[in-house]
Symmetry: D2
Subunit: 410 residues, 4 copies
């Protein structure tokens, strides 16, 4: 195995580690330098930097400080990389740490970030997932286990100053349309909790005040949360600054399409083994604006699916115009309703759909006024037979455990 | 092979065929009756009822009368089916007619329905696809061929009067928000071109005036345009009226997720072989609102993909809030831009993405404010190597053919 | 669909059809001519030419005249093909006839050909399989159904005289080592029942006396019985005579690796849609001695397997040296024993393994003295759960039906 | 990660490690004890115990002492296991050691074990494979890389005394038929180099004199070399002694069906994470003689294949009767011939087919006198296009490197 180029210590705060940062800004100094063709290992905190524990309380999820996220390892400078190049990144492998053989999933409180179904699940809840080699299962969600489709939720290159300004412009504009919205429309720059790596003093303060938050995916990649960008895949990133500046974090043991639970997938600390190379001038040659990638030859296959349809009519019966977001929400709600017939609580079903390798397809997007989205639930991950039959469902799940919940403090 | 339960004659207008209808209404008389466990064949017109020809002009696409679509075969009554049941439908096979070994794809004029990218491709264009057994290729889009993932774009059960009223209510409400929009937000009931099957006279007129158009997918299934609901799959439909009333049409030889070109997939006439059965009271037992289904064991597999990301920032740089529709549009535009680097015209690339078995995934839908959608382009369908390399793309496509175009008449 | 280039009439004997032959010889006249790039349809008898009926008696299997098989359609001349070329054949599609929506499987009497397990199942037995679109099931083997991996058991080019002589030499040599063996080691040329297509008179008689039997696969392809050489695959055949002379027959609706039951797969009459092209001088360019091929993108996938191991120690406990044949026989016997625990008769299990898409892998072939072969049984084709569990197997199969049997006549 | 239950030290001889053994005998003392439901890690030497080095000489392969192999870790006692039970083993994960990020493949000298094609490649040769995360490539075989389908070549339970006696009986019987054969027909018990774990003194000597060699697979599993028995799979082993006695070794980073090169797959040292459980009385309940298993959901998929046929006519043109071993040899030779057209040496091609995830299918085994075997070569593992085309093959491989060779010493 390659040596760790950048290491972390799970027993210390990520703020003490100069090779970690939690904002995007071109002035964040490079933490290490490699050459094209090199492979190397980066160690990563979980996205919250250790705020969530392996226990049966959801209070840590409720009380999480989201201004701190995501803690990324890097940036790594690639020698010779220049703006306009494509940075090829082979994700050679991803692994867990021996001292942290578990991950967490949860939904935030509606007043602190929420999630895809925050109107239905407004309180903080949590599930803990134990790792057994390639497999995972949860003491909070019985009857299911599966192999991890391990991937980085967040990986990307440093933005140029021009690109950063563009991000700030467009996001502020949206923010202003409803600044009081809960959950917020946009996470604006926030200097207090910014970790700018090795950048210190007034330079740090100046950059931190305008540095982009890490929550959304953007042109450089970033927090795409694409489950299929997994170990074994090959990614082509746009390069915006000299040296590219590759950073990575937010590792996931497994996730469903959409990362609907927001907190998030099965979140973990771990290490990632990468190899980098360059296509000089590749952005123009191939007309690249956002990253493109090739999936891994080594992904868990659970090819028997039960597929739920959703259309863009919301829970109140209101008709929306080709709104895939709403259509997918309906498909997800339909799947949750189905799962409860087998004994799961709604929260268990919701959490499961955020963690397991479910697919979310944009099935029809032109048949006005209804978009049609489909949620693909792999049936082989269940210990029991989940398919419909003429006898009706059997309550395999006894209801003796549920996800911990932590209502908002008054 | 089972005998055709309901036949058609491609040389005659669908309006002359009593076993065809093009609206949804509970009063449409059953065209045939079967028992649970029966299997049977239904013959289907292409969705336009023969308005589009195998030629090199897009004028027929430009001039199509969309108030006529979709011509469906049925409804088929299933003995013993009652509201609240689940109707299980095995799609045993789908095939083409010997006299129509071709299909069509196109984008409508922006003033007549448009398509997913109508702002970019405002004029009517068309591509013709020849069938050679399981495979198809187009004289208008060189360099590509693939096996058909054949499926019905439209299949569903008759709505009850209550459900129909609900559809009309919610769609009218949306329509009123912008009645002059081009393309229209909603296709309202339209009696003139309604084909109500065997329903005649004043009963026909009364029903036609309120019968739902067939364009959108709804709770009964309908025009879902789900490419994976293909031959070999098993579908569970809600039953809303006595006898269920199963109708089907809009057969597709192949389609990409989203059916982005709207006109549509590779559209074809053909036959479909079905078997039906019932789960009594299944809607309540399994908590079913929309159809659910299991995919076929027999689907073409093109497992090498190049995947394009898109985020919910539109072409003008405006930031939208978790809008998967816009994110998928960006992913599609990114793929089109990429394909043009190999010599395809934009229209060829757009059409190809509507026809080939591309996947559209809802990858991230919680990372405010950006949704992340991915378009999965199968690379093995191309005659040449489409992957990025350090030399840059080669123009394999010479540009000597393009899609026919028919600008709007003044 | 392309027109049938060569047709058959199921109601007439194949001996009356000049476009059919049942021996290999370079002098068999071409039945039709096509050009490189052409696609065309050939209609085919089942391999026995209609000797087996859709009934519940195995007497026809017992009494079959194996000197008649296999009835092939062709040969088709490809213009410009010369010895040393490679003939590329795209299998565009394969289908059944409306009047024969069923197929048969069986094991021959030990005294009339036998089968892989003829010592264990010495009497003629038969199962009938009904086709429902892409799927098949048998009234003689309950609890199982699956999609057909349709393929030609037999497809090949005409041998040159030199090649034919070589076949006759080497096979005769083997025959002489044990001429009285039952079943026979080799099927020698046999003029009486030879059908030489359009060849008549003394020329026919002379050729028939030396024409090769169609039973074994050879350098030209022939009776390979490779289940994966299915519709959608692309095959490269050596060309030995001017015009190549492509013939095909012995269509199978489905088969397991090995075609262990010999009579055979799920045997059917039907049509096959082919496209041909040439690689001039391809045998030398690519060093080709036997056909090579690429599998279809459209094969049924039943990816959950229960895998049985077998080693080259025979049923009597005798040790054989790296004998894969014996190792596979043990794996097959192990699978049969397992299936009987769920209520199947041995004959049902044996027949099922001959018909379903089981895989047979040569897993280890160097670990002296034991070869290791594995039989892969797809579990999703069963209506019930076939996997081991702590409670032991449940007898889902009630034993009220079995395969018809026809003991040898005294 | 679970702790290592049994550890090794790569810098010390396996003979110094009491938790290792290289023979099968019921008297080998248990090295550790676990309970049903436990998971644990076993560390394993490479099969030769470190005799082969990461260098460019094949002398170590030539001079290997095969009487020492295979070094196994164990036996592990499972509490409560009794003869007649089934031992369920989940292979939760397998990994490499940081200090040994490489593996080796080779063919032995014909006078020292040989290999599947020893008549064609009679001298010792070697290739070294570097690991980069999940992927591997070799400096001795350019143009190819692939993800590892990691698996234990050897895993099994202790035999009872009765079973051991049966093994010795039948293998000696075969040995006597040609005791002077080179390579040998059977590896007889050989006390000198036997490592009997903790067994010492006269008990050790007595057991060593009759202990079975580890080369062949047998009823207890053992050296099956089944590439698909990989991490993520679930295996059911017969139990022959109290406590079962599970041992494992001979880890492979990757292997082709057949392990044709004998030395062997890509051989590695590493660790394996297992979980065990019991089905009481399972051998009788399920009729189990040899192990059965379910494949992993997480296997590398290279689904584009070029498939080579072989029939049971040997290289000298002699006809054999349904001999799958010979048929597979022809398929392998055909593939090697094909690969040399692209510039590979025969030895490179042979080694590649032993290492890469090629499939070997028993395609037809009843069409007397020819068996038909197929070798499935995954084309996506090559950096270049390996498919036939009308222009003929291009020599992508320049021939500047080859496998080291070490001719026999005089």
């Amino acid at each position: 195995m390659a040596k760790s180029l950048l290491s972390i210590d799970l027993d210390r705060s990520p703020y003490e580690n100069e090779n970690v940062h939690n904002r995007w800004h071109p002035d964040i100094p490079m933490a290490a330098t490699v050459k094209p063709g090199d492979d190397f290992i980066l160690e990563c905190y979980d996205w919250t930097g250790g705020q969530i524990g392996n226990n049966d309380s959801a209070e840590d999820v409720r009380d999480v400080d989201l201004t701190q996220v995501h803690f990324l390892t890097g940036p790594v400078e690639i020698e010779g990389a220049e703006p306009g190049d494509l940075l090829m990144v082979d994700i050679l492998d991803i692994g867990t740490f021996e001292q942290m053989q578990w991950g967490f999933n949860g939904f935030f409180s509606r007043t602190n970030g929420g999630g895809f179904l925050t109107e239905h699940f407004p309180d903080a809840q949590k599930s803990i997932w134990d790792f057994k080699g390639m497999f995972t299962s949860s003491r909070h969600i019985p009857g299911v286990s599966f192999a991890g489709l391990i991937h980085p939720g967040l990986i990307g290159t440093l933005p140029s100053k021009e690109l950063l300004d563009e991000w700030n412009r467009r996001e502020l504009e949206l923010y202003k349309t409803d600044p009081d919205r809960v959950p917020t429309l946009v996470n604006l720059p926030y200097a207090d909790t910014a970790h700018m790596g090795r950048l210190k003093g007034s330079e740090r303060d100046q950059a931190a005040a305008e540095a982009a938050r890490t929550v959304p995916p953007r042109e450089h990649g970033g927090n795409c949360d694409i489950k299929d960008l997994s170990r074994g895949s090959k990614v082509y990133f746009p390069v915006y600054v000299k040296g590219a500046g590759l950073s990575v974090g937010d590792l996931h043991f497994s996730q469903g399409d959409g990362e609907i639970t927001f907190c998030g997938a099965i979140e973990m600390a771990g290490w990632i083994h990468l190899r980098v190379d360059l296509i000089k001038g590749g952005m123009e040659k191939y007309g690249i604006k956002n990253p493109i990638f090739r999936p891994s030859p080594l992904a868990p296959r659970y090819d028997n699916y039960l597929i739920f349809e959703g259309i863009s009519v919301d829970e109140q019966g209101e008709q929306h115009f080709l709104d895939v977001h709403i259509a997918y929400r309906q498909a997800v709600l339909n799947a949750i309703e189905y799962l409860t017939k087998f004994g799961y609580s709604g929260a268990q079903a919701y959490s499961l759909l955020g963690c397991a390798p479910v697919q979310g397809h944009i099935s029809g997007v032109v048949d006005v006024p209804n978009a049609c989205a489909t949620l693909w639930l792999p049936t082989d991950i269940f210990d029991f037979d989940l398919l419909p039959n003429t006898d009706g469902p059997e309550k395999f799940i006894k209801g003796d455990v549920d996800l911990p919940i932590a209502p908002d403090k008054e």
